[in-house]
Symmetry: C2
Subunit: 515 residues, 2 copies
């Protein structure tokens, strides 16, 4: 066991003793009952969402909307009930174990987020978001940013108002950012993004000038059954537990569930079997986190995942396993079995690592340029929230940044600042994708240092269990026990840093593109 | 429009006026909000149940149990909240439209059922039922009634106690019976059962002595895909709306949903394609009722089905359509296309109407002997609840009745009084299966009188829409507007009667068996 692992494990031993729980104050037991009920109700909502996207016949939509909103309403009522506040107050100075403190900390955060914002504002936000999606869709179709601009301004104002209700002493953007993960300091993330931008802009420029041709060997069409069989075999080999999960199709791939039942979805285009496979492996990563959460803490924050960590798990499996040379040395024969062509591992490896510097669209971006799409968005939204740029300046600022970071310039707003739906429901969410990638590389580096075996060799042999076990031991089983920054330091010995991602990217793509 | 239809429609016109609703007292609007929320939450629970039986991976069970029970608990809390009672009291003398009165009537009934029984007794019943299922399973496996007897006595005592809480002035069995449908008088049902027994015992005896050989042409095995395609085509032709439904497989066939989204399931045995097909058509009947409920009343009793009516709809489609000669004249070519053999319509018709008088097991019984299995159970349970027979006498009484009604005697309790799981969760539920068949025949007779076209001719042409429309117009669209007995009289012009079923049975099986 390395020093890092010992630190993490120590925390657990202190926290996890049965006797401490047995002596828990009455108020804690009452709070725990409430917390569990809330969590079961949220999980019930999540079953309804999965069903809606995967199984529900079209005609069911009106009824489902009413079921979901009734369920949200009762969940909200249980959380914001006066008694929750009284129990939390009572526990303020109580003698609690670290685990119990973690449960109270996370519950208090949720309680405050939901009680500080007036109900009318919540309703207005919901209504405005829903209307905004339609306005945005039309504006995007018409390539008319002006048609969306007033709505976007209203959304900004409402979200600033919301942030001020939550904490009027702090910068609204900071409050929005903390809505996703309160335990990862914004200034740290911004430093990481600065480092990343400084390294990636020249690297991508180098790759572009290298003018190397990577193999792009997929020509043909593959039907859904063929692709599904490949995807099923892939995640099964990677360790996805079908006794506690399912793989289905849905319009957008997603992961849904808990430590007992965590399901993933993917989607197939006949000509793009690689896209689907990578999406499925990505979702397997999300599922591995959910399925690795401790079953004995189901229903409490100790058995729940952290937002910012989640994306590190999906990116780890997608990129640090699924896009490695070792993986394709292992998996190419299986790919060939299912899809027919006789690829070499090198060809498959190259196909998995194509870079498209001229691409303007975030969702079509590759592993590398993707982060500049994200960095651009976080910069634009922060300036917009902070009032540093006006609504009318967004298209120009967006296009200038695209030019500066990726050397391409959108000729329409549809391909520029109108491309994403995200701002219709708020701000500061984009960053988590890049944080996830950076953290995935940092965890990968720690794992490679920690494990006795050579990780590439394990992957080449199809031995994924040690990787899964390491993540489980170091990350998954803690749930929300530690704040995110503490967990990262516990496991990796340092704060979130871009160094490992940059090193990984320079090495891999340098070799692939010969730069 | 016949006289009967006019009666039904009159009721509706009086009840359905928009203006009356607009002037509804405040308390009514508040009650309605609550009723809708309750109904949406119950529908959410029902999505969880469907998922559990059709989609959920095995490992999900522990989490699902917690989600479902949290959802039940909040639903119970909303229903039994003091405010519900206050609103109901306030509406006692309010000036309400007939539709509003129906909503209040049905809500009051639910409220009283849930508030009159102490929480501890509900919990004890739940716990005891759950334990009893395991005891019963073991006792059945060991063929040892004595091992189940003490548990069965406890269950009886608890259910009698429950009935006394609900209404201490009335016979406990009557109260249990009314838990399923309070609006169908027990004495009427008992008269119907008496008539049925008197007619069916000699009829079955005649069929047995006729010693006729009906075609039993299914030899071979059919895989699930083949059977599924047949079943899908069958219900599609019968009018099942796949835009608002799905057909899947589950361990036991069931129907689940509402007027926007009502799903059915079936199950396949390789050698028994007819069983699955009949089960699927049966479930289509249930679904036709749900899907025929008025969408504008979704979430209120006016948009909800009645228990006793439900089985009439499934039996109508299963027996009065699916087992008719006309249907097989229409459907046999399709059956042959899917399954391969070259049956004549007569062979298929005979295969759908086999009688097995020597069968001891209810769930394997045919259309005719089934009712004697049910009548036996209702007689035994009524005597047991009323204290007319002791626990130890049950096996003997059961076997004597089997002998008397069907001329066969179980040689083990496993094939006798231990065969059903039902009593582990209560009594008086069996009767609804037979009530459903009797009512199906009564509705069928009324429909044949009402419709301009010849119903057999419609079926022979695959024109099922007029049948569906008639049921919709006369039964489905009323939801719980009328008490069950009123609805039956409205539609058929007379109270529930066994006459039509007996006539139908004597005619059909007389012809088939030449007696």
């Amino acid at each position: 066991m390395t020093e890092k692992q010992t630190r993490a494990a120590d925390g657990v031993e202190t926290a996890d003793t049965e006797t401490a729980n047995a002596e828990a104050p009455d108020a804690y037991e009452q709070l725990l009952d409430r917390v569990e009920r809330l969590s079961y109700l949220r999980n019930a909502s999540s079953v309804l969402r999965w069903d809606q996207q995967v199984m529900m016949p079209e005609g069911g939509a009106p009824a489902r909307a009413k079921q979901s909103s009734a369920l949200s309403a009762v969940t909200h009522d249980v959380l914001t009930d006066e008694e929750t506040g009284e129990l939390l107050d009572e526990l303020d100075d109580a003698d609690l174990t670290p685990d119990q403190q973690a449960v109270v900390r996370e519950t208090r955060r949720r309680y405050e987020q939901e009680t500080r914002v007036p109900g009318e504002l919540v309703e207005e936000l919901t209504r405005t978001s829903s209307e905004a999606q339609q306005v945005w869709q039309q504006a995007k179709a018409d390539d008319e940013f002006d048609a969306f601009a007033p709505t976007l301004e209203t959304i900004r104002d409402l979200h600033v108002e919301r942030a001020e209700h939550i904490d009027s002493d702090r910068d609204p953007y900071q409050v929005m950012f903390e809505g996703f993960d309160p335990y990862l300091p914004l200034d740290r993330v911004e430093e990481v993004f600065d480092d990343l931008r400084e390294a990636l802009v020249p690297l991508i420029e180098d790759l572009r000038s290298a003018d190397a041709e990577l193999a792009d060997p997929f020509e043909g069409e593959w039907d859904e059954d063929t692709q599904m069989a490949l995807n099923r075999e892939a995640v099964e080999r990677l360790g996805y537990d079908f006794e506690r999960g399912r793989l289905d199709t849905s319009p957008h791939p997603f992961t849904n569930g808990n430590q007992f039942d965590c399901r993933i979805t993917t989607r197939f285009k006949p000509t793009e079997p690689f896209d689907a496979l990578m999406a499925t492996i990505h979702e397997h990563g999300h599922a591995s986190y959910q399925l690795g959460l401790p079953q004995e803490h189901y229903g409490t924050p100790l058995g729940q995942a952290r937002w910012e960590i989640h994306e590190s798990q999906s990116r780890f499996w997608e990129n640090h396993v699924g896009r490695t040379r070792a993986f394709w040395e292992y998996f190419t024969p299986t790919l060939n079995d299912h899809l027919g062509p006789d690829l070499s591992p090198r060809e498959a490896y190259e196909a998995a690592n194509q870079i498209y510097p001229n691409n303007l669209i975030r969702v079509e971006a590759d592993e590398l340029t993707y982060h500049l799409h994200i960095i651009l968005r976080t910069e634009v939204e922060k300036q917009f929230i902070g009032g540093d740029i006006g609504i009318d300046e967004i298209p120009q600022v967006w296009n200038d940044k695209m030019d500066k970071y990726l050397g391409v310039r959108p000729d329409t707003d549809t391909k520029g600042c109108l491309q994403d739906i995200h701002w219709t429901s708020g701000f500061a969410g984009f960053q988590s994708y890049t944080v996830g990638s950076v953290l995935a590389a940092q965890l990968d580096a720690t794992m490679r240092e920690d494990l006795d075996a050579d990780v590439d060799e394990l992957i080449r042999e199809g031995e994924f269990e040690p990787l899964l076990d390491w993540m489980n031991e170091n990350v998954h089983r803690h749930g929300q026990r530690y704040p995110t920054d503490e967990l990262i330091e516990h496991v990796t010995g340092e704060p979130l840093t871009a160094d490992y991602f940059i090193e990984y990217a320079e090495e891999k793509f340098g070799e692939l593109y010969g730069v």
